[in-house]
Symmetry: C2
Subunit: 552 residues, 2 copies
Amino acid sequence: MRTDIEIAQAATLQPIVPLAVRRLGVPEGSLSPYGRYKAKLSLEQIEKLQGRPDGHLVLVTAITPTPPGEGKTTTTVGLGDALNHIGQNAIICLREPSLGPCFGMKGGAAGGGLAQIVPMEDINLHFTGDFHAIALANNLLAALIDNHVHHGNALGLDVRRIVWRRVVDMNDRALREITVALGGPGNGYPREDGFDIVVASEVMAILCLATSLADLKERLGRIVVGYTSSKLPITARQLKADGAMAALLKDALAPNLVQTLEGNPAFVHGGPFANIAHGCNSLIATQTALKLADYVVTEAGFGADLGAEKFIDIKCRQSGLRPGCAVIVATVRALRHHGGALQGLEALQEGLANLRRHVANVRLHYGLPAIVSINRFDGDTPEEIAMIERECAALEVPCVLASHWAEGGAGAAELAREVVKACASGAARMQLLYEDELPLDEKIAAVARKIYHAESVDWEPKARAQLGELQALGFGGLPVCIAKTQYSFSSDAKLLAAPIGHALRVRELRLNAGAGFVTAICGDIMTMPGLPKVPAAERIDVDAHGRISGLF
Amino acid sequence: MRTDIEIAQAATLQPIVPLAVRRLGVPEGSLSPYGRYKAKLSLEQIEKLQGRPDGHLVLVTAITPTPPGEGKTTTTVGLGDALNHIGQNAIICLREPSLGPCFGMKGGAAGGGLAQIVPMEDINLHFTGDFHAIALANNLLAALIDNHVHHGNALGLDVRRIVWRRVVDMNDRALREITVALGGPGNGYPREDGFDIVVASEVMAILCLATSLADLKERLGRIVVGYTSSKLPITARQLKADGAMAALLKDALAPNLVQTLEGNPAFVHGGPFANIAHGCNSLIATQTALKLADYVVTEAGFGADLGAEKFIDIKCRQSGLRPGCAVIVATVRALRHHGGALQGLEALQEGLANLRRHVANVRLHYGLPAIVSINRFDGDTPEEIAMIERECAALEVPCVLASHWAEGGAGAAELAREVVKACASGAARMQLLYEDELPLDEKIAAVARKIYHAESVDWEPKARAQLGELQALGFGGLPVCIAKTQYSFSSDAKLLAAPIGHALRVRELRLNAGAGFVTAICGDIMTMPGLPKVPAAERIDVDAHGRISGLF
């Protein structure tokens, strides 16, 4: 069987500029090529599209995932191809993969099998340099902070209260906790610091929520980098960092266009971490795609409790986006896992509780028509498939078997038809989970109660103190971004299926004043991953002709 | 008067792909566009050029510089334009500027006035992402080192003897000396570490000396990252890092093509630090340009004692390149500075000793015909110019007054004609300063004696010990890369003009086994600059239409 990279390398790609001109109807001059198969669409052209009506937005989400993942990206690509296959005009919107994890364990994030976006090596490595620009904008701000303190600290930053960390696009555990500015007066004031992976940077979240270059700069200026000794916030604007940061990001803000293996257009742009941040591709890409196509298929990180909730309560709240339906990806394997066993119909029956709750949440709390898509694997038995189908019939939710991985867009044609039906029905009544006016703790409680079915929210003392401070500073009106394990509805990764009676434990609040949300950290959150004992980097290679191997 | 960025932004650029097809005669398919005005020439196409004869190589070097710089890059661009202006076919080869210093004090490195390469904002900011790729390859190796130690340290690396540092393209003094891997067993083994600016990375030097992707990978594998407790070297190859590093660099190795304000082709590729490394643009760009043009104009960092010496003893030694002549850039202002005063003919007369020594070195020790080019400034008086011209006449060295800054290529037409004459004369007999077989200390002594006119070389005990170790490990056959102040022939920045009787103090040796040289650190060398009290970043901005201001 061919690997993903072998399939991708064997594909014949179309030059992206003529493809975009033909399929999106944008002028050639509005496209900036990066090599032959990647391009950015100009912000100028995007402004010109403003008057147009929007297409239908389709959100691909999933049941509570297991470590190998349930194929959300693959389904997003397959569904996009399928919509085009059945004669609709569809664009896919995905996140850009983070380079760091490529060298660790994780595969790429460009789909799989016959449902991939290409050129996959480029997309998984440097792509168009957006993440590099984000990393530098982040690190410029960090350098300006320490430089400000070094040269007299006119703003009175408390070096113990600097919250802005540096970033690198690499899994590098040695950088999680460091001390900087050692070596004497010439090197500044020593302090504790640390690096995050670039997808955890607030600059990434900002780029993904900004509506224009002006909005981007405005948001960058609002970043709170630290506090004075009397706990007053100091912003990037006070450090005069916003202009230079925006200058570094001006090209990165323009969305990237690539193609699927079937030659359909895909915007791949931005990639905020799905735990610490909101986990969706850029708003500017999604909004642009909606102006250019009848259907836009996008995904949100992790299961519907995390990804879809943030998609709605952060991205849709800030932008006014309104999805027409949600596809919930499930696999037989993962449902058995939630039922507590690797094999057997009984385990599957137990595990269906997880699917049931996600379907109910999507319909009841998010107000969206749901479609269950079973991402087919070779080992799935007819009895297992039938059991899921019966469950869905009982729930009165459409359920389709999708085999885009093996068959490409044709394998997801039925899913595409259900999506068209759901969008055409006009049944979507998207709801936000809570009002802006609610204090932060009540917002968190609303998500915990409605979506996680938690019995209570437990606040650790540190988080409780931060809550009071953030409310007092006037940040209580922001939405919350809950960072918790993706492996359970609860904050305990071991509670599978559909746990009840649990408590959500809030350890820490982190202000993202520029991105416009407050992250509530519930459980252990890794903002800098590590490499495994035998990192993928050891097998990655390039031959004398530039052909990459071992990437996946 | 218009600033450099205003001139650059007002220019009408030609689309780079048709320009390259027309001017270089390469097929369109061999060019990978990055936006409309930047492109990379494929390594495949470069291989196809191998059989062709080489054009003439012209090295632009300078007298001992003063802090504002003497206009070496500007002269390189102006001379390239001038050669084309007088009907020759010329290509310029320059280094890529480092992004970090843009936010500090330094202007860009894209020339100035009417002698610039464009698009200047792109070239000075992210350009085609080469430096980002280099930074990540460097940092991947760093992550693999700490990861190896964390997971059992099978190779027995001594954490006190890890010499590989991390890099970032930012002036960030707080990262010069840090401790990493704090926070407990999950984060690895604590140790002292530090960041350099990306241009100081050995990966940068390697990329700039590699002849092919295979050679690049081979060199990456040879990098010595540290030593065991018995002082045996551990290489990147032993960590299996070379393949993944090369994969990250495969696009970066292809040279970048841009244009001058006059629409002439320029390769801008690679940018190793001129103190810690050899300070020339990539070998692959220079070699490719020689296949595509009759004249290739390139520069080497700092004055002729540093830049030209390394250009010859490292780049030419490793590659077989042979320049046809050298242009020595001088300014009236700098020569007065060497004479010890800001004004007056007496100071100029004194300062001419500096020019005299550089001319002698270039002709006698490097074996190249020299041409003195006076980079004209508005305040220069006719008497001052006449004094330099008289001096040059006495030395029997051609001397021309060049005003490309104000007039573009036409302003350097006489310089171009002198260059053509010198190359056509066939007088060049390029010599290496020392043989490979000489031990490292004798190589350093040869440079110190012949070029710097030093009386002796003083070895600090640490450097002396390193000398013994490197010789014993078999690295004695490498050329040396002397890192010292650029402001004097000596290692003391205050000794101006043409000092004699001084001692070169060697503080430390650093092995660059992959790049293929040993750096001898003489005096204080900064591998990570800092930002000034009011960094340029504070005035850099971008408007709502993406127009950058304040960059210079």
